[in-house]
Amino acid sequence: MRINNNNALDLSANKGETLTLSMVDGDAVVTFNGLGGPGTLTKAAPHQFTVPTIGTDVPLLVRATFKGTSGGTASIGISDVTGAVAPFTFHQFPGTATDAVVFLVDIV
């Protein structure tokens, strides 16, 4: 897996490569859809998925829904078997309920 353009949401990976979406820290409710989803992500239960062998790029949407009115966080990351990690941290903007990002995995 490689991070493109120094942007953690822009990734490229080999066909059939095994990647893992993990929740590293935080107290938000984290869910995901795409690439083996839907599902709920917790610190104890990472989501492992295989990069498809067909297609050009595939999206993985990850959502953090916050429990309070401010101060919610969720640190997540996509890692490969070599230990390379594409990290992303949700910081709750005051007065917001949820936030979502889309990791785009370019299949090479």
Partner: protein, 483 residues
């Protein structure tokens, strides 16, 4: 003469428990979008400034400008005119409020209303005017905070990071909070205006609070089951958002808009980022997108509204939980012996909150001869009834409280002065209205208190006093300065 100026600490203990009342869950997508855009504008501006001094991390680069991957919720919500126009209007109003309230122009962002839990995460200041059982009125300034968060804040940790912890010891420490009160009328020449010097001479008391049970805290482990069940209802929204992402990423109008928006942000001076981002999102409301993309956007918007409602239901359920805390206060008097007040505070209720206190005050230090250690026992009940729409006029709270204080013996001052016929029972009744100040974290409590007597005047007549207060939650401000 000034005597026994200690009730503000006791009141602070009661009021602190009811602080959850202000936390109304957001259900309007437009309100969410306004806050979300506000947060992103500040984030983009901060990262743009940092990028001039150092290379951004991959995590930061993802947030450094507007993008479909980073802003999918904000973009599809902004493509729904009824949501985006209301959100942008809200954002404009917040900017107007900020200009009125921030005369120095030093604030890093608007000060939207943000409510905290029972104990402020970092620091709160409460300034209370008036008196209940004191013989004269005074002004007490109370500082309250949690040691764990203050230490982290002092280490120059961002506000959001102060609340993050994997350390069990730190998590336990966060259940502790402290308060220090200063009587600003002490140490002044006759006729001088009260001024806070926060020196030892003005120290009116200090307290330590331990939260034993806080089931009203949405982050408490006891509520994990509710959130787990909630997470299984997210599939439709996540699927709809993903479908919207796929449709918008190939829509020519959206692709063109994105290119223009990113160029405009890159070219904007720091002080123009706010206006540029708002202008770009304003354009989305009238953007002509394909029917397929329009359909996906409408569906995602509908599911998003559903998420807000389901989340509000969970929070409403959690709000019915109980709270129990213990408070130990050290109180210094101008003329009386120092004392310690040990209090148990419990509360139950959902939107209407019932809080009860039981406490005992003991003389400590130099107790005059023949004086019993037990100074008084107290019981208090408070009913908080919130009303008003937090998204329009604000969240007001009407409070009714009653308190009984029994003193088994006549009072004696530290210098041996005896106050005859002061033993007996005091009852107090209080009606209070807490008024939020729109666009800020400040609240103004107005109250009227009736009492059958004061501590030092035991004659049978009814006393009526009015109090005006002011409280400010600095957490909301710190979150803005150091996101």
């Amino acid at each position: 003469m000034k005597h026994f100026n200690r009730l503000p600490l006791a009141l602070a203990a009661v009021l602190g428990v009811s602080a959850h009342l202000g936390a109304q869950p957001i259900t309007d997508p437009a309100k969410h979008l306004a806050s979300s855009l506000d947060g992103r504008i500040q984030q983009i501006r901060a990262l743009k400034a940092q990028a001039r001094n150092r290379a951004l991390t991959p995590d930061e680069t993802a947030s450094a400008t507007i993008g479909l991957q980073r802003d999918i919720d904000r973009i599809y919500l902004s493509l729904i005119p009824r949501v985006s126009l209301k959100a942008l209007q809200e954002l404009e109003e917040r900017r107007a409020d900020k200009q009125v309230g921030d005369a120095t122009g030093t604030a890093a962002g608007s000060t939207s209303l943000v409510s905290k839990g029972g104990t402020p995460a970092i620091l709160a200041i409460a300034v209370e005017n008036g008196a209940l059982t004191q013989d004269i009125s005074g002004t007490t300034v109370t500082f309250r905070g949690t040691p764990a968060s203050l230490v982290k804040a002092a280490q120059n940790t961002g506000y959001f990071d102060t609340l993050k912890t994997n350390d069990t010891a730190v998590a336990v420490l966060q259940k502790l909070s402290f308060a220090v009160s200063f009587d600003t009328s002490r140490g002044l020449a006759d006729g001088a205006q009260p001024v806070l010097t926060a020196d030892r001479g003005q120290l009116a008391g200090a307290s330590l609070r331990v939260t034993a049970i806080d089931n009203k805290d949405p982050r408490a482990a006891v509520n994990d089951g509710r959130w787990n069940r909630f997470s299984f209802t997210q599939e439709n929204l996540d699927q709809a958002a993903l479908t919207a992402f796929k449709a918008l990423s190939v829509d020519p109008a959206v692709v063109a808009w994105l290119g223009t928006a990113q160029q405009a942000i890159a070219a904007a001076p720091d002080d123009q980022v706010d206006a540029v981002v708002r202008t770009q999102f304003q354009m989305l409301a009238n953007l002509e997108i394909s029917p397929a993309a329009r359909g996906a956007v409408i569906e995602a918007g509908k599911e998003f509204e559903g998420l807000l409602k389901r989340r509000a239901d969970v929070l409403d359920d959690i709000a019915g939980g109980g709270q129990l805390l213990f408070d130990v206060a050290y109180q210094t008097q101008l003329t009386g012996p120092t004392s310690a007040n040990i209090k148990v505070v419990g509360s139950v209720g959902r939107s209407i909150l019932l809080t009860g206190n039981a406490s005992a005050t003991l003389y400590i230090g130099d107790v005059p001869a023949n004086t019993d250690t037990l100074r008084d026992v107290q019981g208090a009940v408070q009913l908080d009834v919130p009303f008003g729409n937090p998204e329009t006029i604000g969240r007001y709270v009407f409070t009714l409280a009653t308190k009984v204080q029994h003193m088994p013996d006549d009072l004696t001052a530290g210098d041996g002065t005896f106050f005859p016929n002061t033993k007996g029972t005091i009852w107090l009744g209080q009606a209070k209205l807490t008024i939020p100040i729109r666009g800020s974290a400040a609240k103004v409590p107005l109250s009227v208190t009736l009492a059958n007597r004061t501590e030092l005047i035991a004659e049978k007549k009814v006393f009526l006093r009015a109090q005006v207060g002011f409280s400010y939650d600095l957490d909301a401000v710190l979150a803005r300065f150091k996101p």
